[in-house]
Symmetry: C2
Subunit: 236 residues, 2 copies
DNA sequence: TTCTATTTCTCATATTGTGAGAAGTAAACC
DNA sequence: GGTTTACTTCTCACAATATGAGAAATAGAA
Protein backbone atom coordinates (compact mmCIF):
# COMPACT_ATOMS: atom_id res chain seq x y z
CA UNK A 1 0.00 0.00 0.00
CA UNK A 2 2.75 2.45 1.03
CA UNK A 3 4.78 1.52 -2.03
CA UNK A 4 1.77 2.07 -4.29
CA UNK A 5 1.20 5.56 -2.89
CA UNK A 6 4.89 6.52 -3.13
CA UNK A 7 5.02 5.25 -6.70
CA UNK A 8 1.85 7.15 -7.51
CA UNK A 9 3.45 10.33 -6.21
CA UNK A 10 0.19 11.83 -4.97
CA UNK A 11 -1.57 11.78 -8.33
CA UNK A 12 -4.41 9.35 -7.52
CA UNK A 13 -7.15 9.55 -4.99
CA UNK A 14 -8.40 6.66 -2.85
CA UNK A 15 -10.94 5.32 -5.32
CA UNK A 16 -8.30 5.10 -8.08
CA UNK A 17 -5.87 3.33 -5.80
CA UNK A 18 -8.64 0.87 -4.92
CA UNK A 19 -9.04 0.11 -8.58
CA UNK A 20 -5.34 -0.32 -9.34
CA UNK A 21 -4.67 -2.39 -6.22
CA UNK A 22 -7.89 -4.39 -6.54
CA UNK A 23 -8.85 -3.71 -2.93
CA UNK A 24 -12.15 -2.34 -1.55
CA UNK A 25 -12.22 1.44 -1.09
CA UNK A 26 -13.01 1.09 2.62
CA UNK A 27 -9.86 -0.97 3.06
CA UNK A 28 -7.81 1.63 1.16
CA UNK A 29 -9.17 4.35 3.44
CA UNK A 30 -8.37 2.30 6.50
CA UNK A 31 -4.78 1.75 5.35
CA UNK A 32 -4.33 5.42 4.39
CA UNK A 33 -5.54 6.48 7.84
CA UNK A 34 -3.11 4.12 9.54
CA UNK A 35 -0.17 5.32 7.41
CA UNK A 36 -1.11 8.97 8.02
CA UNK A 37 -1.31 8.39 11.76
CA UNK A 38 2.10 6.75 11.61
CA UNK A 39 3.55 9.80 9.86
CA UNK A 40 4.50 7.79 6.79
CA UNK A 41 2.08 9.61 4.49
CA UNK A 42 0.81 13.19 4.36
CA UNK A 43 -2.52 14.18 2.81
CA UNK A 44 -2.35 16.81 0.06
CA UNK A 45 -6.10 17.23 -0.47
CA UNK A 46 -8.56 15.56 -2.82
CA UNK A 47 -8.02 12.20 -1.11
CA UNK A 48 -4.41 12.14 -2.32
CA UNK A 49 -1.26 11.45 -0.28
CA UNK A 50 2.49 11.81 -0.51
CA UNK A 51 5.35 10.64 1.67
CA UNK A 52 5.27 11.94 5.23
CA UNK A 53 8.06 13.17 7.50
CA UNK A 54 8.69 9.78 9.07
CA UNK A 55 9.18 8.30 5.60
CA UNK A 56 11.68 11.06 4.86
CA UNK A 57 13.42 10.22 8.13
CA UNK A 58 13.68 6.57 7.04
CA UNK A 59 15.14 7.71 3.73
CA UNK A 60 17.66 9.87 5.55
CA UNK A 61 18.96 6.85 7.41
CA UNK A 62 19.68 4.75 4.35
CA UNK A 63 23.33 4.06 3.85
CA UNK A 64 23.44 4.17 0.07
CA UNK A 65 26.94 2.69 -0.32
CA UNK A 66 25.93 -0.29 1.84
CA UNK A 67 22.79 -0.83 -0.24
CA UNK A 68 24.84 -0.66 -3.44
CA UNK A 69 27.29 -3.13 -1.93
CA UNK A 70 24.50 -5.54 -1.13
CA UNK A 71 23.24 -5.37 -4.70
CA UNK A 72 26.79 -5.64 -6.00
CA UNK A 73 27.50 -8.80 -4.02
CA UNK A 74 24.47 -10.36 -5.71
CA UNK A 75 25.05 -9.24 -9.28
CA UNK A 76 28.78 -8.79 -9.75
CA UNK A 77 29.97 -12.44 -9.41
CA UNK A 78 28.24 -13.20 -12.71
CA UNK A 79 29.88 -10.22 -14.42
CA UNK A 80 33.26 -11.14 -12.98
CA UNK A 81 32.92 -14.61 -14.47
CA UNK A 82 31.87 -13.24 -17.86
CA UNK A 83 34.71 -10.70 -17.83
CA UNK A 84 37.30 -13.15 -16.56
CA UNK A 85 38.44 -10.36 -14.22
CA UNK A 86 38.30 -9.23 -10.65
CA UNK A 87 35.35 -6.83 -10.33
CA UNK A 88 35.30 -4.30 -7.50
CA UNK A 89 32.95 -1.63 -6.23
CA UNK A 90 34.31 1.31 -4.29
CA UNK A 91 33.21 4.65 -2.83
CA UNK A 92 35.01 7.84 -1.88
CA UNK A 93 35.09 8.47 1.85
CA UNK A 94 36.89 11.69 2.61
CA UNK A 95 39.94 11.46 0.36
CA UNK A 96 40.25 7.65 0.39
CA UNK A 97 38.59 4.89 -1.62
CA UNK A 98 36.74 2.27 0.41
CA UNK A 99 36.63 -1.09 -1.35
CA UNK A 100 33.19 -2.50 -0.62
CA UNK A 101 32.77 -5.41 -3.02
CA UNK A 102 35.42 -7.60 -4.57
CA UNK A 103 34.55 -10.69 -6.57
CA UNK A 104 36.04 -12.92 -9.20
CA UNK A 105 39.55 -13.52 -7.95
CA UNK A 106 42.36 -12.35 -5.73
CA UNK A 107 44.03 -8.97 -5.57
CA UNK A 108 45.90 -7.27 -2.81
CA UNK A 109 42.82 -5.18 -2.00
CA UNK A 110 40.42 -6.47 0.68
CA UNK A 111 36.79 -5.62 1.25
CA UNK A 112 36.69 -2.88 3.87
CA UNK A 113 40.15 -1.65 2.94
CA UNK A 114 40.78 2.04 2.33
CA UNK A 115 43.44 3.19 -0.12
CA UNK A 116 44.57 6.52 -1.57
CA UNK A 117 42.34 7.58 -4.42
CA UNK A 118 44.68 9.31 -6.96
CA UNK A 119 46.37 6.12 -8.16
CA UNK A 120 43.49 3.71 -8.83
CA UNK A 121 40.93 3.59 -11.62
CA UNK A 122 38.07 3.66 -9.10
CA UNK A 123 39.68 6.57 -7.28
CA UNK A 124 40.29 8.58 -10.44
CA UNK A 125 36.63 8.12 -11.48
CA UNK A 126 35.41 9.31 -8.11
CA UNK A 127 37.84 12.24 -7.91
CA UNK A 128 37.07 13.27 -11.50
CA UNK A 129 33.40 13.73 -10.61
CA UNK A 130 33.87 15.73 -7.42
CA UNK A 131 32.49 19.26 -7.45
CA UNK A 132 35.19 21.68 -8.68
CA UNK A 133 35.87 23.18 -5.25
CA UNK A 134 36.31 19.81 -3.57
CA UNK A 135 38.54 18.53 -6.36
CA UNK A 136 40.72 21.63 -6.16
CA UNK A 137 41.11 21.16 -2.41
CA UNK A 138 42.07 17.51 -2.93
CA UNK A 139 44.75 18.44 -5.48
CA UNK A 140 46.12 21.16 -3.19
CA UNK A 141 46.31 18.79 -0.25
CA UNK A 142 49.04 16.53 -1.73
CA UNK A 143 51.59 15.10 -1.67
CA UNK A 144 50.91 12.14 -3.93
CA UNK A 145 53.31 9.29 -3.40
CA UNK A 146 54.92 7.66 -6.44
CA UNK A 147 53.93 3.99 -6.00
CA UNK A 148 55.22 2.78 -9.41
CA UNK A 149 57.00 4.40 -12.35
CA UNK A 150 53.56 4.94 -13.88
CA UNK A 151 51.92 6.72 -10.97
CA UNK A 152 50.62 10.20 -11.77
CA UNK A 153 51.67 12.43 -8.88
CA UNK A 154 51.87 15.96 -10.26
CA UNK A 155 48.62 17.87 -9.42
CA UNK A 156 48.30 19.49 -12.84
CA UNK A 157 48.76 16.15 -14.57
CA UNK A 158 46.13 14.67 -12.27
CA UNK A 159 43.75 17.52 -13.10
CA UNK A 160 44.26 16.85 -16.81
CA UNK A 161 43.69 13.17 -16.19
CA UNK A 162 40.37 13.98 -14.43
CA UNK A 163 39.24 16.06 -17.42
CA UNK A 164 40.01 13.09 -19.68
CA UNK A 165 38.13 10.71 -17.36
CA UNK A 166 35.02 12.89 -17.48
CA UNK A 167 35.27 13.14 -21.26
CA UNK A 168 35.79 9.40 -21.80
CA UNK A 169 33.32 8.29 -19.14
CA UNK A 170 35.83 5.85 -17.62
CA UNK A 171 39.30 5.73 -16.02
CA UNK A 172 42.22 3.39 -16.56
CA UNK A 173 44.98 2.45 -14.15
CA UNK A 174 47.85 0.81 -16.02
CA UNK A 175 50.28 -0.14 -13.27
CA UNK A 176 49.74 3.15 -11.41
CA UNK A 177 48.91 1.52 -8.08
CA UNK A 178 50.85 -1.69 -8.52
CA UNK A 179 53.28 -3.15 -11.07
CA UNK A 180 51.62 -5.79 -13.17
CA UNK A 181 48.06 -4.65 -12.41
CA UNK A 182 45.69 -2.98 -14.88
CA UNK A 183 42.18 -1.73 -14.11
CA UNK A 184 39.38 0.08 -15.81
CA UNK A 185 36.53 1.77 -13.89
CA UNK A 186 33.20 3.44 -14.62
CA UNK A 187 31.04 5.71 -12.44
CA UNK A 188 27.84 4.60 -10.75
CA UNK A 189 25.26 7.38 -10.67
CA UNK A 190 22.13 7.88 -8.58
CA UNK A 191 18.77 8.98 -9.93
CA UNK A 192 19.90 12.61 -9.90
CA UNK A 193 23.06 11.84 -11.85
CA UNK A 194 25.44 12.27 -8.92
CA UNK A 195 28.33 9.81 -8.86
CA UNK A 196 27.97 7.71 -5.71
CA UNK A 197 30.37 4.82 -6.39
CA UNK A 198 32.60 3.33 -9.07
CA UNK A 199 32.89 -0.13 -10.55
CA UNK A 200 36.12 -1.60 -11.84
CA UNK A 201 37.43 -4.59 -13.74
CA UNK A 202 41.01 -5.53 -12.89
CA UNK A 203 43.49 -8.04 -14.14
CA UNK A 204 47.13 -8.87 -13.82
CA UNK A 205 49.23 -8.04 -16.88
CA UNK A 206 52.83 -8.60 -17.88
CA UNK A 207 54.73 -5.68 -16.33
CA UNK A 208 54.85 -2.71 -18.72
CA UNK A 209 52.37 -4.34 -21.06
CA UNK A 210 49.47 -2.02 -21.89
CA UNK A 211 46.70 -4.61 -22.15
CA UNK A 212 43.48 -3.90 -23.98
CA UNK A 213 41.49 -2.61 -21.02
CA UNK A 214 38.76 -1.06 -23.13
CA UNK A 215 37.65 -4.54 -24.22
CA UNK A 216 36.10 -4.91 -20.76
CA UNK A 217 34.13 -1.68 -21.10
CA UNK A 218 30.88 -2.98 -22.68
CA UNK A 219 30.31 -5.60 -20.00
CA UNK A 220 31.38 -3.23 -17.23
CA UNK A 221 28.90 -0.63 -18.46
CA UNK A 222 26.23 -3.30 -18.64
CA UNK A 223 26.98 -4.21 -15.02
CA UNK A 224 26.79 -0.54 -14.08
CA UNK A 225 23.42 -0.23 -15.83
CA UNK A 226 21.97 -3.25 -14.06
CA UNK A 227 23.19 -1.99 -10.67
CA UNK A 228 21.81 1.52 -11.26
CA UNK A 229 18.49 0.11 -12.41
CA UNK A 230 18.27 -2.14 -9.37
CA UNK A 231 19.29 0.57 -6.91
CA UNK A 232 17.75 3.73 -8.34
CA UNK A 233 15.18 2.53 -10.82
CA UNK A 234 16.88 4.26 -13.74
CA UNK A 235 20.14 4.04 -15.63
CA UNK A 236 22.49 6.52 -17.32
CA UNK B 1 11.09 -3.04 13.42
CA UNK B 2 12.20 -1.60 10.05
CA UNK B 3 12.67 1.81 11.64
CA UNK B 4 14.76 0.31 14.45
CA UNK B 5 17.09 -1.40 11.98
CA UNK B 6 17.45 1.70 9.79
CA UNK B 7 18.17 3.81 12.87
CA UNK B 8 20.68 1.25 14.08
CA UNK B 9 22.47 1.46 10.72
CA UNK B 10 23.62 -2.16 10.73
CA UNK B 11 25.55 -1.95 13.99
CA UNK B 12 23.53 -4.41 16.11
CA UNK B 13 22.82 -8.07 15.64
CA UNK B 14 19.51 -9.76 16.24
CA UNK B 15 20.02 -10.47 19.94
CA UNK B 16 20.84 -6.81 20.64
CA UNK B 17 17.79 -5.63 18.71
CA UNK B 18 15.70 -8.06 20.77
CA UNK B 19 16.99 -6.42 23.92
CA UNK B 20 16.44 -2.86 22.80
CA UNK B 21 13.01 -3.54 21.34
CA UNK B 22 11.97 -5.81 24.22
CA UNK B 23 10.84 -8.56 21.84
CA UNK B 24 11.82 -12.29 21.85
CA UNK B 25 14.78 -13.15 19.64
CA UNK B 26 12.73 -15.63 17.61
CA UNK B 27 10.26 -12.86 16.77
CA UNK B 28 13.11 -10.54 15.75
CA UNK B 29 14.46 -13.25 13.44
CA UNK B 30 11.03 -13.80 11.95
CA UNK B 31 10.59 -10.09 11.24
CA UNK B 32 14.10 -9.78 9.78
CA UNK B 33 13.43 -12.72 7.49
CA UNK B 34 10.19 -11.14 6.28
CA UNK B 35 11.82 -7.75 5.66
CA UNK B 36 14.76 -9.41 3.85
CA UNK B 37 12.39 -11.40 1.64
CA UNK B 38 10.56 -8.17 0.86
CA UNK B 39 13.82 -6.52 -0.23
CA UNK B 40 13.53 -3.85 2.45
CA UNK B 41 16.60 -5.03 4.35
CA UNK B 42 19.91 -6.59 3.25
CA UNK B 43 22.06 -8.78 5.52
CA UNK B 44 25.64 -7.62 6.00
CA UNK B 45 26.87 -10.60 8.04
CA UNK B 46 27.02 -11.25 11.76
CA UNK B 47 23.23 -11.16 12.00
CA UNK B 48 23.24 -7.46 11.06
CA UNK B 49 21.12 -5.73 8.41
CA UNK B 50 20.95 -2.46 6.51
CA UNK B 51 18.40 -0.97 4.14
CA UNK B 52 17.72 -3.05 1.04
CA UNK B 53 17.17 -2.02 -2.59
CA UNK B 54 13.40 -1.76 -2.25
CA UNK B 55 13.84 0.65 0.65
CA UNK B 56 16.19 2.71 -1.51
CA UNK B 57 13.56 2.68 -4.25
CA UNK B 58 10.99 4.01 -1.76
CA UNK B 59 13.42 6.76 -0.80
CA UNK B 60 13.91 7.64 -4.44
CA UNK B 61 10.22 8.23 -4.84
CA UNK B 62 9.89 10.73 -2.03
CA UNK B 63 8.99 14.19 -3.19
CA UNK B 64 11.01 16.20 -0.69
CA UNK B 65 9.43 19.58 -1.48
CA UNK B 66 5.98 18.09 -0.93
CA UNK B 67 7.03 16.59 2.39
CA UNK B 68 8.50 19.93 3.45
CA UNK B 69 5.28 21.61 2.41
CA UNK B 70 3.26 19.23 4.52
CA UNK B 71 5.42 19.96 7.53
CA UNK B 72 5.35 23.66 6.74
CA UNK B 73 1.56 23.78 6.62
CA UNK B 74 1.54 22.35 10.15
CA UNK B 75 4.25 24.48 11.72
CA UNK B 76 4.29 27.79 9.91
CA UNK B 77 0.88 29.20 10.93
CA UNK B 78 2.19 29.55 14.48
CA UNK B 79 5.34 31.33 13.30
CA UNK B 80 3.33 33.61 11.04
CA UNK B 81 1.22 34.63 14.03
CA UNK B 82 4.28 35.25 16.20
CA UNK B 83 5.99 37.23 13.42
CA UNK B 84 2.89 39.15 12.48
CA UNK B 85 3.87 38.49 8.86
CA UNK B 86 3.00 36.36 5.88
CA UNK B 87 5.30 33.33 5.94
CA UNK B 88 5.97 31.41 2.72
CA UNK B 89 7.92 28.36 1.69
CA UNK B 90 9.21 28.03 -1.85
CA UNK B 91 11.44 25.83 -3.99
CA UNK B 92 13.37 26.35 -7.20
CA UNK B 93 11.97 24.40 -10.13
CA UNK B 94 14.05 25.04 -13.23
CA UNK B 95 14.55 28.80 -13.12
CA UNK B 96 11.27 29.65 -11.36
CA UNK B 97 10.23 29.72 -7.72
CA UNK B 98 7.26 27.54 -6.82
CA UNK B 99 5.34 28.88 -3.83
CA UNK B 100 4.27 25.84 -1.85
CA UNK B 101 3.13 27.18 1.49
CA UNK B 102 1.67 30.58 2.32
CA UNK B 103 0.22 31.36 5.71
CA UNK B 104 -0.55 34.32 7.91
CA UNK B 105 -2.22 36.74 5.54
CA UNK B 106 -2.77 37.80 1.98
CA UNK B 107 -0.25 38.57 -0.71
CA UNK B 108 -0.51 38.47 -4.45
CA UNK B 109 1.30 35.11 -4.49
CA UNK B 110 -0.83 31.95 -4.45
CA UNK B 111 0.12 28.43 -3.41
CA UNK B 112 1.12 26.58 -6.55
CA UNK B 113 2.16 29.76 -8.32
CA UNK B 114 5.48 30.01 -10.11
CA UNK B 115 7.31 33.31 -10.37
CA UNK B 116 10.70 34.49 -11.66
CA UNK B 117 13.40 33.88 -9.08
CA UNK B 118 15.82 36.86 -9.42
CA UNK B 119 13.49 39.42 -7.85
CA UNK B 120 12.22 37.71 -4.67
CA UNK B 121 13.93 36.99 -1.36
CA UNK B 122 13.12 33.28 -1.65
CA UNK B 123 14.39 33.25 -5.22
CA UNK B 124 17.63 35.02 -4.38
CA UNK B 125 18.32 32.54 -1.56
CA UNK B 126 17.77 29.58 -3.85
CA UNK B 127 19.79 31.07 -6.74
CA UNK B 128 22.61 32.07 -4.40
CA UNK B 129 23.10 28.46 -3.36
CA UNK B 130 23.06 26.89 -6.81
CA UNK B 131 26.28 25.17 -7.90
CA UNK B 132 28.53 27.70 -9.66
CA UNK B 133 27.96 26.29 -13.15
CA UNK B 134 24.19 26.36 -12.81
CA UNK B 135 24.19 29.86 -11.37
CA UNK B 136 26.39 31.10 -14.22
CA UNK B 137 23.99 29.60 -16.76
CA UNK B 138 21.04 31.26 -15.03
CA UNK B 139 22.75 34.67 -15.13
CA UNK B 140 23.67 34.24 -18.79
CA UNK B 141 20.12 33.27 -19.72
CA UNK B 142 18.58 36.68 -18.95
CA UNK B 143 16.95 39.08 -19.58
CA UNK B 144 15.74 40.11 -16.15
CA UNK B 145 12.71 42.36 -16.31
CA UNK B 146 12.66 45.52 -14.19
CA UNK B 147 9.48 45.07 -12.12
CA UNK B 148 10.04 48.07 -9.80
CA UNK B 149 12.65 50.82 -9.52
CA UNK B 150 14.41 48.59 -6.97
CA UNK B 151 14.63 45.43 -9.05
CA UNK B 152 18.20 44.18 -9.62
CA UNK B 153 18.42 43.23 -13.27
CA UNK B 154 22.09 43.54 -14.22
CA UNK B 155 23.73 40.05 -14.12
CA UNK B 156 26.92 41.25 -12.41
CA UNK B 157 24.92 43.06 -9.75
CA UNK B 158 22.86 39.91 -9.25
CA UNK B 159 26.05 37.85 -8.89
CA UNK B 160 27.33 40.28 -6.25
CA UNK B 161 23.97 40.08 -4.50
CA UNK B 162 24.24 36.25 -4.44
CA UNK B 163 27.69 36.47 -2.85
CA UNK B 164 26.26 38.74 -0.16
CA UNK B 165 23.31 36.37 0.41
CA UNK B 166 25.67 33.45 0.96
CA UNK B 167 27.81 35.52 3.33
CA UNK B 168 24.84 36.85 5.35
CA UNK B 169 22.89 33.61 5.33
CA UNK B 170 19.68 35.35 4.24
CA UNK B 171 18.24 37.48 1.43
CA UNK B 172 16.11 40.60 1.49
CA UNK B 173 13.68 41.87 -1.10
CA UNK B 174 12.86 45.53 -0.47
CA UNK B 175 10.27 46.31 -3.13
CA UNK B 176 12.16 44.40 -5.83
CA UNK B 177 9.20 42.26 -6.88
CA UNK B 178 6.43 44.66 -5.90
CA UNK B 179 6.16 48.24 -4.66
CA UNK B 180 5.26 48.34 -1.01
CA UNK B 181 6.34 44.77 -0.29
CA UNK B 182 9.37 43.73 1.78
CA UNK B 183 10.53 40.16 2.44
CA UNK B 184 13.37 38.37 4.13
CA UNK B 185 14.21 34.71 3.39
CA UNK B 186 16.49 31.99 4.78
CA UNK B 187 17.61 28.70 3.21
CA UNK B 188 16.26 25.30 4.27
CA UNK B 189 18.96 22.64 4.14
CA UNK B 190 18.76 18.86 4.04
CA UNK B 191 20.89 16.52 6.14
CA UNK B 192 23.78 16.89 3.68
CA UNK B 193 23.64 20.67 3.80
CA UNK B 194 22.15 21.09 0.34
CA UNK B 195 19.62 23.92 0.05
CA UNK B 196 16.28 22.35 -0.86
CA UNK B 197 13.83 25.22 -0.17
CA UNK B 198 13.62 28.70 1.31
CA UNK B 199 11.41 30.26 3.93
CA UNK B 200 10.37 33.87 3.92
CA UNK B 201 8.63 36.45 6.07
CA UNK B 202 6.87 39.21 4.13
CA UNK B 203 5.05 42.34 5.01
CA UNK B 204 3.62 45.37 3.33
CA UNK B 205 5.61 48.57 3.92
CA UNK B 206 5.12 52.21 3.05
CA UNK B 207 6.49 52.59 -0.51
CA UNK B 208 10.23 53.41 -0.46
CA UNK B 209 10.43 52.73 3.29
CA UNK B 210 13.21 50.29 4.18
CA UNK B 211 11.54 48.50 7.08
CA UNK B 212 13.57 46.66 9.68
CA UNK B 213 13.44 43.24 7.99
CA UNK B 214 16.23 41.75 10.07
CA UNK B 215 14.02 41.94 13.17
CA UNK B 216 12.18 38.91 11.78
CA UNK B 217 15.37 36.90 11.39
CA UNK B 218 15.56 35.18 14.80
CA UNK B 219 12.05 33.76 14.58
CA UNK B 220 12.47 32.87 10.91
CA UNK B 221 15.66 30.96 11.71
CA UNK B 222 13.89 29.24 14.57
CA UNK B 223 11.15 28.20 12.16
CA UNK B 224 13.79 26.96 9.74
CA UNK B 225 15.45 24.94 12.50
CA UNK B 226 12.20 23.30 13.57
CA UNK B 227 11.35 22.40 9.98
CA UNK B 228 14.80 20.98 9.29
CA UNK B 229 14.72 18.98 12.52
CA UNK B 230 11.28 17.61 11.69
CA UNK B 231 12.14 16.78 8.08
CA UNK B 232 15.78 15.70 8.23
CA UNK B 233 16.44 14.98 11.88
CA UNK B 234 19.12 17.63 12.15
CA UNK B 235 19.43 21.39 11.89
CA UNK B 236 22.04 23.83 10.60
C1' DT C 1 -32.00 21.41 -1.26
C1' DT C 2 -30.84 17.33 -3.55
C1' DC C 3 -27.75 14.23 -5.41
C1' DT C 4 -23.30 12.18 -5.81
C1' DA C 5 -18.98 11.04 -4.05
C1' DT C 6 -16.03 10.35 -0.27
C1' DT C 7 -15.05 8.74 4.19
C1' DT C 8 -15.97 6.24 8.45
C1' DC C 9 -18.06 2.63 11.06
C1' DT C 10 -19.86 -2.00 12.30
C1' DC C 11 -19.79 -6.87 12.19
C1' DA C 12 -19.08 -11.62 11.12
C1' DT C 13 -15.41 -14.06 9.44
C1' DA C 14 -10.71 -14.87 8.02
C1' DT C 15 -5.99 -14.39 8.44
C1' DT C 16 -1.79 -13.45 10.55
C1' DG C 17 1.26 -12.70 14.58
C1' DT C 18 3.03 -13.96 19.06
C1' DG C 19 6.06 -16.12 22.77
C1' DA C 20 7.84 -20.22 24.57
C1' DG C 21 10.53 -23.69 23.95
C1' DA C 22 12.32 -27.35 21.05
C1' DA C 23 15.22 -28.42 17.24
C1' DG C 24 18.66 -27.44 13.83
C1' DT C 25 22.84 -25.05 12.38
C1' DA C 26 27.13 -22.52 12.81
C1' DA C 27 31.10 -20.93 15.09
C1' DA C 28 34.45 -20.92 18.72
C1' DC C 29 37.30 -23.34 21.81
C1' DC C 30 39.97 -27.13 23.64
C1' DG D 1 37.51 -34.06 16.05
C1' DG D 2 34.50 -33.33 19.86
C1' DT D 3 32.24 -30.22 22.98
C1' DT D 4 30.18 -26.02 24.16
C1' DT D 5 28.05 -21.78 23.11
C1' DA D 6 25.51 -18.82 20.24
C1' DC D 7 22.58 -18.14 16.47
C1' DT D 8 18.69 -19.31 13.63
C1' DT D 9 14.52 -21.81 12.39
C1' DC D 10 10.45 -24.39 13.44
C1' DT D 11 6.20 -25.83 15.87
C1' DC D 12 2.15 -25.00 18.42
C1' DA D 13 -1.47 -23.17 21.27
C1' DC D 14 -3.29 -18.95 21.79
C1' DA D 15 -3.92 -13.97 20.82
C1' DA D 16 -4.49 -10.23 17.95
C1' DT D 17 -5.46 -7.94 13.85
C1' DA D 18 -7.26 -7.53 9.08
C1' DT D 19 -10.81 -8.10 5.78
C1' DG D 20 -14.95 -7.13 2.71
C1' DA D 21 -19.61 -5.95 2.60
C1' DG D 22 -22.69 -2.81 3.37
C1' DA D 23 -24.65 0.75 6.30
C1' DA D 24 -24.09 5.32 8.01
C1' DA D 25 -22.05 9.84 8.20
C1' DT D 26 -19.88 13.64 5.94
C1' DA D 27 -18.54 16.64 2.22
C1' DG D 28 -18.86 18.66 -2.15
C1' DA D 29 -21.12 19.66 -6.50
C1' DA D 30 -25.09 20.80 -9.06
Amino acid sequence: MLEAVLTDGGRSRASSLAGSLNVPVATIHRHLATLRDAGLLTPVGGGRHVAGPRMLAFAGRINVPEVLSGIGRQLLPDFARRLGCVVQLGTLDGDMVTYRVKVGGDLFTKVGMQLEAYCSAIGKVLLAHLPDGEQARYLEAGPFVQLTTHTITEPRALAREFVAVRRLGYACDREEISEGLACIAVPLRDAKGAVVAALSASRAIEPSHSGDLEAALPLLEEARGVLEQRAFGCST
